[in-house]
């Protein structure tokens, strides 16, 4: 029997694409996660740890990142840690795995050759390292057929499982390889979400800590038990990830104030906000006066982040502007023809590409677009500019009136 931890896609040194402001923290959080993995391996008395590729985000990660990563697993010696190069840390002349520091840890084994590695008396590991960033060949093709019936055969590869993967994938791994090659278990890496197929003979543990929004079911490692050759594996997922990446989408309908207020409450009620990253997308339409409400909400979100009441927020606005029927702008329009005209022009510009119909008192679209022409190339869309202008006007009018 062998028991091991199957993990992959650590992506150490990764870039925080979706939360660039938290880059350093997110990278740091991953070390903590790995420590949990290492502790788990010790606690569960695992025979070894099998890491299936993309352990480092890039072959040119800093020495510090490598050292700290290896130290974590060096500390659980003599438990061997088998590290397979993936498509982010492929095994070429400049591979991270060729650094001298790997030789400093006796329990850390780099699987840099397509050659069987004996683990114990009756277990053989068949590593399929990635040698180039983009490889179209099947990495498991070299695995020889079973010759020893007493041997537990574990394959470890990094690639896209077919036919589940998208067409023309990189590093295609046929789903039937476990059958063809008589593997007892195929430990895969590459996808960041937990996935178990072929009666658990093939599995992706996913990344132990999510790397961006949209990675459903990430934050796991798999404890795999193989009783003997030909026996189905027993998999126990363990949650090791700490951060939560939430995505909300809210439509602004009806009373915008109420909707925004409700959002405020929900955010305040989040559990473990210190480890929560929230992406909020607002859709719908607001009138000119309500743009101020939206801006205030945006400012509150920023404040939450700044005073650390939530780890991260990102607000996306896909909102259309309509005419204002009450509020400061509306009153100013009633009292001043010039301001009324300005508000009408901006409202019309704010919904120019939406089928919202003409705005009363607004100038004709050609004339309005003429005003906008000098702003072409400023990097902001017309609707956004118009909404911003209205918001500014609303603020100023509130100050003046």
């Amino acid at each position: 029997m062998v028991r091991f931890l199957h993990t992959a896609d650590w992506q150490m040194g990764m870039k925080a694409t979706d939360a660039s402001a938290l880059g350093r923290q997110l990278r740091e959080a991953r070390f903590a996660t790995l420590r949990r993995v290492a502790v788990l391996a010790k606690e569960r008395s695992c025979d070894f740890v099998l890491a299936a590729g993309d352990l480092f985000e890039h072959n040119q990660v800093s020495p510090e990142t490598v050292t700290r990563t290896l130290q974590i697993f060096g500390d659980i010696a003599p438990i061997p840690v088998y590290m397979l190069p993936g498509n982010h840390d492929w095994y070429d002349a400049g591979s991270v795995y060729r650094r001298d520091i790997f030789r400093s840890y006796e329990n850390i084994v780099v699987l840099g050759r397509r050659a069987p590695v004996a683990i114990g008396a009756n277990c053989m590991l068949y590593p399929c390292p990635v040698f180039r960033r983009w490889e179209m060949d099947e990495p498991t093709g070299w695995i020889p057929v079973r010759e020893d019936e007493e041997e537990i055969r574990i394959g470890v590869a990094h690639g896209s499982l077919m036919p589940l993967a998208e067409p023309d994938p990189v590093l295609p791994v046929p789903e039937d390889v476990v059958t063809r090659k008589s593997l007892d278990y195929l430990a895969l890496g590459h996808y960041h979400s937990l996935r178990r197929v072929a009666d658990d003979r093939v599995a992706y543990p996913g990344t132990p800590e999510p790397t961006r929004f949209g990675e459903a079911d990430a934050g796991w490692v798999l404890e795999v038990e193989l009783q003997g050759p030909g026996q189905p594996p027993r998999i126990t997922p363990h949650r090791v990830g700490r951060l939560r990446w939430l995505e909300w989408r809210e439509e602004l309908e009806g009373n915008v104030c109420e909707v925004i207020g409700d959002l405020d409450r929900r955010i305040s009620a989040l559990e473990d906000p210190d480890h929560t990253l929230l992406r909020l997308t607002l859709t719908g339409s607001v009138n000119a006066d309500e743009l101020v409400i939206l801006e205030d909400f945006r400012n509150r979100l920023d404040a939450r982040r700044e005073n650390r009441s939530i780890l991260f927020t990102q607000l996306r606005e896909e909102v259309m502007t309509t005419e204002s029927l009450d509020g400061a702008l509306h009153r100013a329009a009633m009292e001043d023809d010039v301001l009324a005209g300005v508000i009408a022009d901006l409202t019309a510009l704010g919904s120019l590409h939406a089928s919202a119909g003409p705005v009363e008192d607004a100038r004709d679209p050609e004339s309005l677009l003429e005003d906008v022409r000098p702003l072409e190339g400023c990097g902001v869309g017309t609707e956004a500019l118009a909404q911003e202008a209205l918001t500014r006007l609303a603020r100023i009018i509130a100050e003046v009136m």
């Binding site: 040194g13 990764m14 870039k15 925080a16 694409t17 660039s20 402001a21 880059g23 350093r24 985000e57 890039h58 072959n59 040119q60 990660v61 800093s62 020495p63 510090e64 990142t65 070429d92 002349a93 400049g94 991270v96 650094r99 009292e335 001043d336 023809d337 010039v338 301001l339 005209g341 300005v342 022009d345 901006l346 510009l349 005003d371 906008v372 000098p374 702003l375 400023c378 990097g379 902001v380 956004a384 500019l385 118009a386 909404q387 911003e388 202008a389 918001t391 500014r392 006007l393 100023i396 009018i397 100050e399 003046v400 009136m401």
Partner: protein, 918 residues
């Protein structure tokens, strides 16, 4: 803005400090004669409020007083929005700018340097000063309201957009709402100015610019980090390439080594074959050498035998020829001897003939000299006799001593005159013919009375007497008659008197000349002339006789010289007799001909002699050549015989036939050996199949592989070092950090950009809406201007303005439309003035009281209209401050109070003057 005080120092004509003020709210006048500095004061004020204190260049230098190093200083005290300000500005040396504000008790410094400049400029024109001198176009409202003297300075050029906007806003009349809208516009403008300049460009130093610049800088850093990553990637690729190449070379090396072994064995086999061939070749070579030697010997012997035969034949032929030549030489020697003798004879004859010729020439010379000498003597004789004759003639002439022609003429004139007068006197005198037949003789006394004489004649009776030339006759008949007849003519008397004078004069002349009369003088003159002619002829003859000699003396000298030469020649010739006429003159021509003939004979003899000698020498040479040839041929024969003996002796051959036989045998042996060697060589591999070549190739390839491997090993070490360096750099994470920062910055920038450009859009739309709303109020200004023009011209006028508040034209009461350029100078001038006043009034009423400056603005206006303008100014002074600069203060009498008048002329008379009160 209201002007309160103006102080200048070190500005053109104002080298001393000059202070004017305080100026009143209404009408002010600064008057002075031309060049008193009125316009200079305005220029100083303009420079102070519109230009930067630090401005440099020639234009600001021109502000200095001429020839002075003073720095221009200007102090402007003004009111704005109920506050008092004082700006002091100094240019060029130690430049400074200080703006003070009066807090009620004292002046407090508010801004300095650029801040002061910007603040004041903003008040006066609404814009920030540029770098150099501010052109008039940048004066803002002042450009409109200050009507100054400069090219185009009086014409109204319209107002800037900012001023137009202000005016439109003021004309709106919607003060309450305008205030709110203005407040909104002001805040919008303030928000706009945070990121943009008035011209719509992103302001330097703005947050937008800062963010953009920061982002650009980080992007550059990201590029650098990526570049390092790419460099590391390239290093990796290079390492891969090196290792791959090394691997390939290792495989190649195995193959090459194996090839080499095979080739080596092949080479050994071929070497053995070559040794065999070499041995056979050596044998063949020896055989060939032997054959060559035999052939050469045979050839030599045969050649020698041929030479001997040929030589003997030649000897026989040439012997006969030699005998003939010897005979010929003998006869030619005899001929040469003969020619030599003839030549000697001819030479002697020539010598003799030449000697005779020379002798003849010398004799002829001497005789010639003698002839010459005789001729000279004769010539001398002739000259001598002529000289004697001449001398006699001259003496004769001297003796004649004839008067000159002039003298004779004079004498003749006198005589003729005397005769004439005498005739006249006779003609005019009394002629008395008395025929008296008296019985007795009558004594008649005729008194010829003239002035000098009285002559008494006694006339006998019966006689006829003619008495003439009488002036009076007195016939006295005693006892009978006493008749006294006077001629009654003094003329005759005068004439007679004159005649007497002339006759006396003639006598005197004759005495002087030594003649009795003119006739005698003429005779003597004629004789003298004949003598003179004779003298002239003698002189000519003598001159002719002298020939080329100057005189007889030189002729004599030449004769003596000729005599000397003759004597010398005579002695040279050995002639004893001095009379050389007895010696014959030699016939030189015959002597010459004889000598010439002798020379020709000699030449001919010489020619014959040399020809014969030349022929003899040639023939002798021929003889020598033939002998040499014979000796040569004999030598060849001897040599050939020796050769034959030597060759046969060296090889032990008895005779040439045996030698030929031996040679043929050797040829046969050589052919046999060549066939054998040829067969062996055919079996050897060719150059292309030579295994040693292939071996060299394989060795070279192996060497190349080893060299390449060594080089790649070095490269691998190098690349490894670079790779290690890349690994320790951690370029990836550096790039990641920068990318994250850039993402954050982009987010911030996007947000700010949206905010800034949103404000831009808001401002743009707000401005458009305001202008559209306010345009309808423009006619208000037009009506104001039309009213003023009507008041001045006393004719209804309509004025149309364009968007820049510039008059497009004026419509008369007859409906005729005139563009500004078509107006008369006076009317155009008045229109420009009215524009300023109307705009100033609107501005003062609706925005803030302001100042209009008129610098001798009315040059073409007639007195009537001028008076109406005066009245208008008086009215407008309730709304606007007017500052008049003029050289004609009298024109504005009655409208300006004393406290508003400032006399520059009086100011210029004092030093460090202050003109004003307070």
């Amino acid at each position: 803005m209201l002007l309160r005080r103006l102080e200048v120092r070190g500005v053109r004509c104002f080298d001393q400090r000059v202070t004017l003020g305080p100026f009143v709210d209404g009408l002010n006048m600064i008057h002075g004669p031309n060049e008193s500095g009125k316009s200079t004061l305005m220029e100083a004020m303009a420079r102070a409020v519109f230009d930067r204190y630090s401005v440099g260049g020639a234009d600001i230098q021109e502000l200095r007083p001429r020839g002075s190093s003073l720095s221009p200083e200007v102090t402007v005290e003004f009111e704005w929005q109920q506050r008092c300000y004082r700006l002091h500005k100094r240019f060029i040396d130690d430049p400074r700018s200080v703006l003070e504000i009066y807090d009620g008790t004292r002046w407090v410094a508010r801004h300095e340097r650029d801040a002061a400049d910007d603040y004041v400029r903003q008040i006066f024109s609404g814009e920030v000063a540029g770098r150099g001198l501010t052109p008039v176009s940048g004066w803002g409202l002042a450009r409109t309201l200050w009507m100054l003297q400069r090219p185009g300075g009086s014409e109204h050029h319209g107002v800037s957009d900012a001023v137009a906007a202000q005016l439109r806003s003021a004309l709106a009349g919607q003060l309450q709402i305008t205030t709110r809208l203005d407040a909104v516009a002001e805040r919008v403008e303030a928000a706009y100015r945070e990121d943009f300049t008035p011209t719509g460009k992103i302001r330097k130093g703005s947050r937008l610019q800062e963010l953009d610049d920061g982002l650009s800088a980080r992007r550059e850093q990201l590029e650098e980090a990526r570049r390092r990553m790419e460099e590391a990637d390239r290093t990796v690729q290079r390492m891969e390439s090196v290792e791959s190449e090394l691997e390939r070379l290792a495989q190649e090396r195995c193959t090459v080594v194996s090839d080499l072994e095979v080739v080596e064995s092949e080479v050994a086999r071929v070497e053995k074959m070559r040794d065999e061939v070499r041995a056979r070749r050596e044998a063949l070579s020896e055989q060939r050498d032997r054959l060559d030697r035999l052939e050469q010997n045979l050839c030599d012997v045969q050649a020698a035998l041929a030479t001997i035969a040929r030589g003997e034949r030649s000897l026989e032929a040439m012997e006969g020829e030699r005998e003939q030549i010897a005979l010929r030489v003998q006869s030619m020697e005899y001929l040469v001897h003969e020619a030599d003798s003839a030549l000697s004879r001819a030479r002697s004859a020539r010598t003799e003939a030449e000697r005779a010729l020379r002798h003849g020439i010398r004799a002829l010379d001497v005789l010639g000299e003698w002839q010459k000498y005789r001729a000279l003597c004769e010539q001398h004789e002739r000259v001598w006799s002529l000289s004697e004759a001449l001398h006699e003639a001259e003496k004769e002439l001297a003796r004649e001593d004839a008067p000159t022609e002039e003298e004779i003429e004079q004498l003749q004139d006198v005589e003729r005159e005397a005769d004439r007068l005498r005739a006249m006197a006779e003609a005019s005198s009394l002629r008395v013919h008395m025929h008296a037949h008296v019985a007795q003789p009558v004594k008649c006394r005729v008194d010829q009375v003239d002035d000098a004489d009285e002559t008494t004649r006694v006339l006998d009776a019966g006689e006829q007497h003619e008495v003439s030339g009488l002036d009076r006759i007195n016939l006295s008949l005693p006892g009978v008659m006493d008749l006294d007849i006077a001629s009654g003519s003094s003329q005759a008397r005068d004439l007679r008197r004159r005649v007497d004078q002339l006759e006396a004069e003639a006598c005197a002349q004759c005495d002087r000349l030594g003649i009795a009369s003119a006739k005698e003088g003429r005779d003597r003159r004629a004789r003298s002339q004949a003598i003179e002619r004779r003298i002239e002829q003698l002189r000519e003859k003598r001159a002719h006789a002298l020939g080329g000699y100057d005189d007889a003396a030189s002729l004599q000298t030449a004769a003596r010289e000729a005599e000397r030469r003759v004597e010398e020649g005579r002695q040279r010739m050995g002639w004893a007799d001095e009379d050389l006429s007895q010696y014959d003159s030699p016939v030189l021509r015959e002597l010459q001909e004889t000598a010439d003939k002798a020379r020709r004979d000699e030449e001919q003899a010489q020619g014959i002699y040399e020809e014969r000698k030349q022929n003899l020498e040639e023939k002798r040479e021929e003889q020598v050549t033939l002998s040499a040839k014979l000796r040569e041929i004999q030598g060849e024969i001897d040599t050939a015989e020796t050769t034959v003996r030597a060759v046969l002796g060296s090889i032990g051959c008895p005779d040439p036939d045996t030698l030929a036989h031996w040679t043929e045998e050797a040829r046969e042996q050589t052919r046999t050996l060549e066939e054998e060697v040829g067969q062996l060589e055919a079996e050897l591999p060719g150059e292309e199949e030579d295994p040693s070549v292939r071996r060299d190739t394989v060795r070279a390839a192996l060497c190349e592989i080893e060299k390449r491997e060594k080089s790649l090993e070095h490269e691998r070490i190098e690349v490894g070092v670079a790779l290690d360096s890349a690994k320790t750099r951690g370029a990836y994470e550096e790039a990641v950090k920068i990318e994250e920062e850039i993402a954050e910055m982009e987010t911030t920038l996007a947000r700010h950009r949206q905010r800034a450009w949103g404000v831009y859009l808001l401002r743009s739309i707000l401005t458009k809406r305001r202008e559209a709303a306010m345009t309808e109020h423009l006619p208000g200004l037009e009506r104001e201007i039309a009213r003023m023009m009507t008041r001045i011209t006393r004719r209804p006028r309509t004025v149309a303005l364009d968007g820049t508040i510039r008059p497009r034209g004026v419509e008369s009461d007859r409906g005729e439309w005139y563009a500004r350029d078509a107006l008369s100078s006076g009317t155009a001038e008045q229109l420009d003035l009215v524009m300023r006043l109307a705009i100033g009034r609107v501005y003062s009423r609706h925005i803030t009281r302001t100042m209009v400056v008129l610098d001798d603005a009315l040059l073409y206006t007639d007195p009537e209209r001028h008076d109406r303008i005066k009245e208008l100014l008086k009215v407008l002074s309730a709304d606007i401050q007017v500052l008049l600069l003029t050289s004609h203060p009298a024109r504005y009498r009655g409208i300006i109070d004393e406290e508003g008048r400032f006399d520059l002329a009086a100011l210029r008379l004092t030093e460090d003057s202050s003109l004003g009160r307070g």
